[in-house]
């Protein structure tokens, strides 16, 4: 069936895979008709998909450094786009994004704009040039461009801080989904998630992660789009929701005006379980100041361009030209999910609050709502809550509370879709969280094994030894992340946003100026990374401990302050110290030209 080169056969391989997955969904739905329980379906979905990823991970095993670090630099543009999209869209994008839009409306949409607009910066400022450079990791670029072990080490520090903040959230998400789908306690589920993650990356490094991420993208996009289209059709909202929900959006605005946003007293809110929220913000109206919106979008865009696990995906393309195109494909595949999240939020909200729909619960009597099956299920899962604050016996808009995750997880059930969809959604969430966790753990482990161990500690190490070190680090970092995730310190979304801010504080300007400003030198870069990271972190601590902040910069956008400090420090220190030598200047000139050999050799 499959002959010849693996790369040439990719469309066929993944075509068969997609067909197989769709067939699996159909088999499961037949199983449901024949009486399989929801729990068994959930276990089948998660176990089946994870087993496939593990097989891909095993088949991608390698003993070569360039295959382990950059997948042999032969990933075609479109497939690299899919892999990047999976790498990028985390458990937060999958599970929490629609919920965020549902509750916060316009103010939250800044994240959508930021998380897509950042790719324009990636494509135009960085990715093609770093690809030409031929580095294995992001600190590899910093260390070679600026020279010296200290600059390389600082880059590893920033990378580790940002990526580790991010990865605990992802392992947490895999744990949450595994614990629900497999029905085991969260503390153990976290480690089940971790083992699944390591199965994909341990043997094949970047090569294994690339081909599992493509497979994970296919699962997660089917799992996200299928319910959105199904619900929209079932509600009669429109055959193609993205183009047809204008009436629903205006209907929500109408209902909001009719119900009004009643503010609950602090005493009443004490009754509401932690983590649940009510609808307090307009759905489609502009409910944030321009600066609040723009600053959040800007922080996310600059953070996107500085996150190493995304950047390193573009090191795997065959050419500079392919790297540029590949960024476009990445964003296209991301766009498919991101443009659907607001539609899901709209459908979910309308189906709950519109009294003229059979699923609407606002305006019904409290006891009637409490008797609904799905309400009882999700109430038990601590994701839904109603209470009759004003004592009139009917449910008002301000008396209904829901968890952010429920928008994605519960809407299919509320709309009356079969259980098989819930199993599919669990598999999709698992794929989203696993793919991102893999990218992040690999980014950290590669930076430490390549840049700290090989380049600084033991430059004479044999390839075999380097790859053993890389794999040991992968496991150690994974376990450290899982251990912290098991402590459940902070929510998924908060820590994701912090990771962007850390990355932009320390890395944005050292990376961009490395390509675009020849005069930038080692001292400037070290100052930029160090002061950027420290000042950003200090600002975060200050705001978290009751500081008032300034210029409207919050704990979600502290990277704007950090990166401003980084820019000033880098420019001032660079100009005060000696210009980089002629060899470095020549290197920068060469990076700017796509043709010719890369700066660093194929094996280095």
């Amino acid at each position: 069936m499959i002959k010849g080169n693996f790369i040439d056969n990719l469309p066929k391989v993944y075509g068969i895979y997609t067909g197989g997955f769709l067939a699996f969904i159909i088999i499961m739905s037949i199983g449901e008709q024949m009486g399989m329980t929801a729990k068994v379906i959930g276990i089948c979905f998660v176990a089946f998909t994870v087993a496939i990823y593990a097989i891909i991970g095993y088949l991608s095993r390698t003993a070569q450094a360039d295959a382990y670090y950059v997948a042999g630099r032969q990933v075609p543009t479109v497939f690299n786009g899919m892999a990047t999209a999976a790498d990028w869209m985390s458990g937060a994008s999958f599970v929490a994004m629609a919920g965020g839009i549902y509750f916060k409306g316009y103010g939250y949409m800044a994240l959508l704009v930021g998380w897509t607009g950042g790719y324009v910066l990636v494509a135009s400022l960085l990715a093609p040039y770093l690809r030409k450079f031929g580095c294995y990791t992001v600190p590899d670029f910093i260390g070679t461009r600026y020279g010296g072990n200290l600059s390389r080490f600082m880059a590893v520090v920033v990378l580790t801080v940002a990526s580790f903040t991010y990865v605990t959230a992802q392992i947490n998400a895999t744990g949450t989904i595994a614990s629900v789908a497999l029905d085991i306690p969260f503390q153990y589920a976290v480690y089940v998630g971790l083992v699944s993650i390591l199965l994909c990356s341990m043997l094949g490094g970047m090569r294994g992660v690339t081909w599992t991420q493509v497979a994970q993208y296919i699962v997660l996009i089917i799992a996200y789009l299928l319910p959105v289209f199904w619900i929209s059709n079932k509600m009669g909202a429109g055959f193609f929701p993205h183009f047809m929900l204008a009436d629903e959006v205006s209907r929500i605005a109408e209902l909001e005006a009719q119900f009004g946003f009643v503010k609950n007293s602090a005493e009443n809110l004490k009754e509401v379980p932690k983590g649940l929220a009510g609808i307090t913000k307009a759905h489609s109206a502009v409910n944030a100041t321009p600066w609040a919106f723009i600053s959040l979008a800007l922080a996310m865009m600059m953070g996107t361009a500085s996150l190493p696990h995304v950047m390193m995906r573009y090191f795997t393309t065959p050419s500079v030209k392919a790297a540029r195109k590949s960024v476009g494909w990445s964003l296209f595949f991301i766009f498919l999910l991101y443009s659907s999240a607001p539609m899901l939020a709209t459908l979910s909200k309308l189906s709950l609050i519109d009294p003229s729909l059979p699923t609407g619960i606002i305006g019904k009597s409290i006891s009637e709502v409490q008797a609904i099956d799905w309400y009882q299920n999700w109430n038990q899962a601590n994701l839904m809550f109603v209470s009759d604050f004003n004592g009139n016996g009917t449910l008002e808009l301000n008396e209904f509370f829901m968890g952010g995750k429920a928008v994605v997880l519960a809407t299919p059930e509320i709309a009356g879709l079969p259980y098989v969809i819930s199993g599919l959604v669990a598999a999709g969430g698992m794929a989203a969280a696993m793919s991102t966790a893999d990218g992040l753990i690999l980014a950290i482990a590669n930076a430490i094994s390549h840049d700290v161990y090989y380049k600084i500690i033991d430059p004479k190490a044999e390839t075999a030894k380097r790859l053993v070190v890389a794999r040991v680090l992968l496991v150690v970092i994974g376990f450290a992340g899982a251990t912290i995730a098991a402590l459940e310190i902070q929510g998924i979304l908060g820590s994701v946003i912090w990771a962007f801010d850390f990355a932009m504080s320390g890395l944005f300007f050292p990376l961009v100026l490395g390509v675009w400003w020849k005069r930038a030198n080692k001292e400037g870069a070290i100052a930029g990374m160090f002061l950027g990271l420290v000042s950003g972190a200090a600002y975060l601590v200050w705001v978290r401990t009751g500081g008032s902040g300034f210029l409207g910069i919050t704990q979600l956008t502290f990277g704007i302050f950090g990166s401003a400090v980084s820019l000033v420090a880098m420019v001032v220190v660079s100009l005060m110290t000696q210009a980089p030598n002629a060899a470095t200047q020549r290197m920068v000139d060469e990076v700017r030209v796509p043709a010719g050999k890369s700066i660093l050799g194929k094996q280095h």
Partner: protein, 86 residues
Amino acid sequence: MSKQEQHWEKSKGLLMVTLAIWFVFSIGIFLFGAEMNEVTGPFGYPLTYWFTCQGSLGIFVILIFWFANRQEKIDEEFGFSERGDD
């Protein structure tokens, strides 16, 4: 000016245009979010709402492909493009 300097000048020009378009749709229009939302946009959605759901996102996708093609043309013009792969 050497060939390489000319190539870089043109590349910088393209970067500026790309970043200008990026700026308009990621930052510029949201300075007037409230005013713009009064207008009905494509498919009947309020205009600002549409930009945050689909408009800006879609424009970024197109912008990157446009940028990649233009940059390739510039590279070819100066004989700096890579051969044989895509």
